[in-house]
């Protein structure tokens, strides 16, 4: 019954998510409300991690499988997709790569910038801190 109870907790959160979606006039899916709620509940210690851990691991692990039916759904929307297929595919494929590269690079850039300049306001120690941090970062980069 342990896993059923874990599943129950997750379903309750999902259900509250659906209630919120129903009553709040925004185009936000129930799952996102649920995600935020569960996160808040974990942070506030309302739900303990141990009481959902195994089931949530399992659900996350099999998640890719859950997209199969939606993907197969392309079969029924093929009629509308076919006439604009080529330009749409080109746009989708190229932009996906560009978006991934840009957001990854920006995130990494800011992370590394912050590592190099940990505390800008400490004027006197600044050079010293920057040097030692720079050194450390160089080593960690090589070790990746």
């Amino acid at each position: 019954m342990k896993y059923v109870r874990q599943f129950l907790i997750i379903l309750v959160i999902s259900f509250i998510g659906e209630l919120l979606r129903y009553y709040i006039p925004l185009k936000i899916p129930a799952s996102i409300y649920g995600l935020v709620l569960l996160f808040a509940a974990l942070e506030l210690r309302i739900i303990k991690l141990v009481s959902i851990r195994e089931t949530s691991r399992f659900l996350i692990e099999i998640m890719p499988l859950m997209f199969v039916p939606a993907g197969v759904g392309l079969l029924s929307s093929w009629g509308v997709l076919k006439p604009v297929c080529v330009p749409i595919m080109v746009i989708v494929l190229i932009s996906t790569i560009i978006v991934m590269a840009v957001s990854g690079k920006v995130t990494q850039g800011v992370i590394r910038m912050e590592k190099k300049h940990p505390k800008k306001k400490n004027g006197a120690d600044h050079i010293y801190v920057k040097d030692s941090e720079g050194e450390r970062q160089y080593i960690s980069e090589n070790s990746i």
Binding site: G34, E43, L59, V68, G71, V72, S103, G104, E114
Partner: protein, 230 residues
């Protein structure tokens, strides 16, 4: 026989899992990104349905029980996020900047593509929410007057492609920080990409799931501002 395949509620689930296992097997044996289990499974099920002349609705009568788990599974993405919350706080600025740049890049790429191919306003707004999760994307497309069925198709294609390309893109563009990898994948390829990020590591997975929610919300705000340009 066909009667049975069409009427059995187990057939859809069975064939989905079976083809997914086939995909896992091929991936292990051949180790190529193109042999993505999700892609293989989708393609194999489509071939199977066409070969036995089964329509999508009868397949989905069973397969919908797999999709049924999607909401609870997405809710569970809060768990890796909770486990990585310190990392999130520490890199808040970088994460926010990364997701925002991803959302804007996505919109600008779609705009540029639509101008180049001379697509209509309707097709443009249909493509705008392509990088975000289906549930939010459908809403955005509908709101702006797009064709929702195409939006869903495009979101799925984006996700599967992002899932396939994630490791390659990170390698070529030298995205090495686990946090940056996760943000990149989640911002570009929503939940389907996140499945790949989860395989790459806990940090990648947590950051990717965070990006689904944040990128989705940012697109809800940003897309209408850009909708009238074309």
């Amino acid at each position: 026989m066909k009667e049975l395949l069409t009427n059995s509620v187990f057939f859809g689930v069975m064939v989905s899992i079976l083809t997914y296992e086939l995909g896992m097997f091929l991936k292990r044996k051949l180790k190529l990104a193109i042999f993505n289990p999700l892609l293989i499974s989708i393609a194999a099920v489509i071939v199977c349905l066409l070969a036995f002349n089964i329509d999508y609705d009868s397949y989905n009568a069973g397969a919908k029980y797999i999709s049924y788990l999607l909401t609870p599974a997405t809710v569970c993405l809060a768990v890796p996020l909770y486990e990585q919350v310190e990392l999130l706080k520490k890199n808040a600025k970088a994460i926010f900047a990364g997701i925002l740049s991803g959302v804007l890049t996505s919109i600008l790429c779609v705009l540029a593509g639509c101008v180049i191919f001379g697509l209509s306003h309707e097709q443009y707004v249909t493509l705008l929410p392509k990088s975000i999760t289906t549930a939010i994307g459908m809403g955005v497309s509908e709101e702006l007057g797009g064709i929702v069925t195409i939006t869903v198709a495009v979101i799925i294609i984006t996700g599967v492609f992002g899932n396939m390309m994630a490791e390659f893109v990170c390698k070529v563009f030298r995205i090495q920080e686990p946090v940056a990898k996760g943000i990149a994948i989640g911002s570009a390829a929503h939940a389907v990409g996140t499945a790949k990020a989860m395989e790459m590591g806990d940090i990648e997975g947590a950051m990717s799931s965070l990006s689904i929610a944040v990128a989705g919300l940012m697109t809800v705000v940003a897309a209408p501002l850009f909708a009238e340009i074309l």
